[in-house]
Symmetry: C3
Subunit: 219 residues, 3 copies
């Protein structure tokens, strides 16, 4: 009971946090309130939308407009509160919560629909990362995919751990909490300690070493 309540709250919280990162992107480009809402909605519900299309489920927010309302509220809050240095730091951590929650919820919804394990893992990863990818493409900024930091990898850990624990017959709520904790811990380590996976060796032909990561340029 308590666990399933927690899951429902994580669901709305994940949408709200992703939506806020979308609105912040609109703020950085000085957009108007309608574009704020557009970016908030695309980022907040984009990942789950792709997941539902791929597994053949009805798209979750079409029947439950509460998700759209959550995105609008997030956009309005960012508009009212404005940009604050400490807010953007806070959001990075909330985004880590959303990432971990959505990787697990996405995999769980796919598994529930009878999707095979490997594809269910992919659905978890897409649920957690696709909204942010579309946000970056629409804003014309380098995608989270192109940053050499542990982001998609944390989603992969969350979705993979959930599916693996379920295959080992761990009860669904416990599997979800364990996988959520693992994904959040990995993302937190990346944020605090600058963890990154080793890059493909060789000289980058396209640009100088990315300044976003804590790792030294590839040798």
């Amino acid at each position: 009971m308590v666990v399933s309540d927690l899951v429902a709250w994580l669901d709305y919280a994940g949408v709200a946090v992703f939506a806020a990162t979308g609105a912040l992107t609109a703020a950085r480009h000085r957009h108007d309130i309608v574009t704020f809402c557009f970016f908030a909605a695309v980022t907040g519900i984009g990942g789950g939308t792709l997941r539902d299309l791929l597994i053949g489920a009805p798209v979750f927010w079409v029947e439950q407009p509460a998700y759209l309302a959550v995105c609008m509220v997030a956009a309005a809050l960012i508009w009212i509160l404005g940009e604050r240095p400490q807010g953007s730091r806070l959001l990075l951590w909330l985004d880590a919560v959303g990432l971990a929650a959505y990787s697990v919820l996405g995999a769980a919804k796919a598994a529930q629909m009878g999707v095979p394990p490997l594809a269910a893992v992919v659905m978890g990863v897409l649920s957690a990362s696709f909204g942010g990818i579309v946000r970056d493409v629409l804003a014309g900024q380098p995608s989270v995919l192109l940053r050499r930091e542990i982001y998609v990898t944390a989603a992969l850990l969350g979705a993979g751990a959930y599916v693996a624990l379920r295959l080992a017959h761990v009860e669904s709520s416990y599997a979800a909490l364990g996988a959520f904790g693992g994904a959040f811990a990995l993302r937190a380590a990346a944020l605090r300690l600058g963890w990154a996976l080793p890059a493909f060796p060789g000289r980058d032909e396209t640009k100088p070493a990315a300044p976003w990561t804590g790792v030294p340029p590839t040798e």
Copy 2:
């Protein structure tokens, strides 16, 4: 009868006009005729395609290839007529007709399928704007989303007014015509008078003030 004929014509006209803006983008980049057709099709039918996928309807042009043929004809016309300064101005106004028509038609189709009001409004906005967004992303040019002008907002007015009028039990054809007129009038005002919504206040960190709009740079 006359009204429903008008709606059918607005439908094809909207696709043709959007397709022409796609072909014009290909012309600006000196592409070949196949890429002309590709851009015309993506822009002409992209918005309605996303709407149909999201509401779970069969994608409209798959069963009725006449829409594809309209896009090909539009691409061929742009190829033959070439670029003309006055043509691009004309197209801006025709695009305003397409925008207004599609925001209403998109919302109406969603409402007909039983989609709840808030989601139906979103479907109208996406039908009217998504084709142009994909066109801009594929062409690598700044998206219509990133221009601080009233474009998505006009689509929002059209879709929102239609849904609101229907909730107030206005007959469907009248609601459609009223909403179409409102959306077109707002877009026309933006084109003629340089109307824009207020931007999020603060210094734009990403680039100098956009030269596209009639509004002064944000203070």
Copy 3:
């Protein structure tokens, strides 16, 4: 029997080759292994995914994770083998095989589902080209669409020839092989002889003549 085996092999081979081009893009940007797999999967199965969504079929790789596994293997191979000048040349030719195979397979699957001829041709073109388009958009590099070379055109020939031969009551396997051969021959000619369709005449306002093609700049 032999022909249908060939078709099945072409299917996996096409996915593998497209996936390898995705992984090579990740290699050029010095990404980590997770991003390698992401780019490999998006490029390898992106086109078929869009086709299945548009024709209302279950997405092919969700039920058959072997396709995902093929993408992972392709990503791992590129990671291990590294970039080699001759490898990238080989891949260009393998990509031509994938392009020809997928244009035919995509049109054939759509036709089998009862999609009308013109729309089936579009499905073939999208199956063959959409994965590469998404790869380029995500990597922030100029899309294959924007290069003035015969690429989408070869896919159009393959899909169009297959549908035309089937309408002329040619047996499915023969139609597939003939269309495949035509598409591959056209793409090969483009690669070897620098063939290109004539560009839309006029001065390119957006950038200097593209250096990718064998054709002289438009006059």
